[in-house]
């Protein structure tokens, strides 16, 4: 079994992706309130999804499948901040106060 360099790179990327996805899920379980959980969920949307899909693109080579995977990647990168902004905005306007360590609002 001969391993080309592209295979190794894509495997490393997929493993990083799987690891960061699990870490993000642990963060979603560990963090104390909605807003901090959203940060953990955004890890799985950016680093996890990005590395896994780039790894799959490297495996697929220059085909139609890799172009579609690239479209999925672009789509996730456009919609993930939009939906987390909508979530955070809705949570704040429904009166859930974030747990704060210190408040910079007064400073400036």
């Amino acid at each position: 079994m001969d391993w080309s360099i592209i295979d190794v790179v894509s495997w490393v990327l997929i493993i990083i992706g799987g690891f960061s996805v699990i870490a993000g899920a642990i963060g979603v379980l560990r963090f104390p309130d909605v807003y901090t959980r959203m940060h953990a969920a955004s890890i799985t949307d950016t680093l996890g999804a990005g590395t896994i899909i780039v790894g799959l693109i490297l495996q697929a080579g220059l085909t139609l499948v890799s172009a579609k995977l690239f479209l999925i990647l672009i789509f996730i990168f456009f919609t993930s901040p939009t939906s987390s902004f909508a979530l955070a905005h809705a949570a704040l306007s429904s009166g859930i106060k974030p747990i704060l360590d210190n408040d910079l609002l007064k400073d400036d």
């Binding site: 104390p32 940060h39 890890i43 990005g50 456009f78 939009t82 974030p98 910079l104």
Partner: protein, 158 residues
């Protein structure tokens, strides 16, 4: 100009998604792209905001920088999650925006949210309310490098 580039982009997406390349099906694809462009012209949706081609060259230098920032921020947040002794210090802050157009503000707010560790919660006139996971992340944002880069990208093409 905008209609033409929109048509080309639509047709490119169609080519990627379809996968059937016989003359009949390709001509049907061209016709449907043309119909969509015509409908969008009637709805008056084709402008520099709905289809920002003037940002293309700026985006080529902005997106790699953004990806680099995202990876750096990801590593920070991953360390926070997996290291049991590091505590989160959630912070709420207001960031000044120097962009004038709505498009620039949207790009800036989305870039803030896309970077893990900071989420934009509310966009008001001239400032964005941001929730940051740590105090150091908030201080990085207050330095305003991302703000300058977005302003440069939006402003260059005009």
């Amino acid at each position: 100009m905008h209609s033409l580039s929109l048509g080309v982009v639509l047709f490119g997406v169609w080519l990627i998604l379809s996968g059937h390349y016989t003359p009949l099906i390709i001509s049907l694809g061209i016709v449907s792209c043309g119909i969509i462009v015509a409908i969008m012209q009637r709805m008056d949706l084709i402008d520099h905001e709905g289809h920002p081609i003037h940002l293309t060259w700026g985006a080529f230098s902005y997106i790699p920088w953004l990806i680099k920032e995202i990876i750096k921020a990801n590593i920070d947040v991953l360390r926070l999650i997996l290291h049991p002794s590091l505590k989160v210090t959630p912070t709420l802050l207001r960031v000044k925006t120097s962009q004038q157009s709505d498009l620039g503000k949207v790009i800036y707010a989305n870039s803030i949210t896309l970077t893990p560790g900071t989420i934009s919660i509310d966009v008001a006139k001239g400032e964005i309310l941001v929730h940051a996971l740590t105090k150091s992340g908030a201080e990085d944002l207050l330095k305003g490098e991302m703000d300058q880069r977005v302003t440069k990208m939006v402003g260059e093409g005009k």
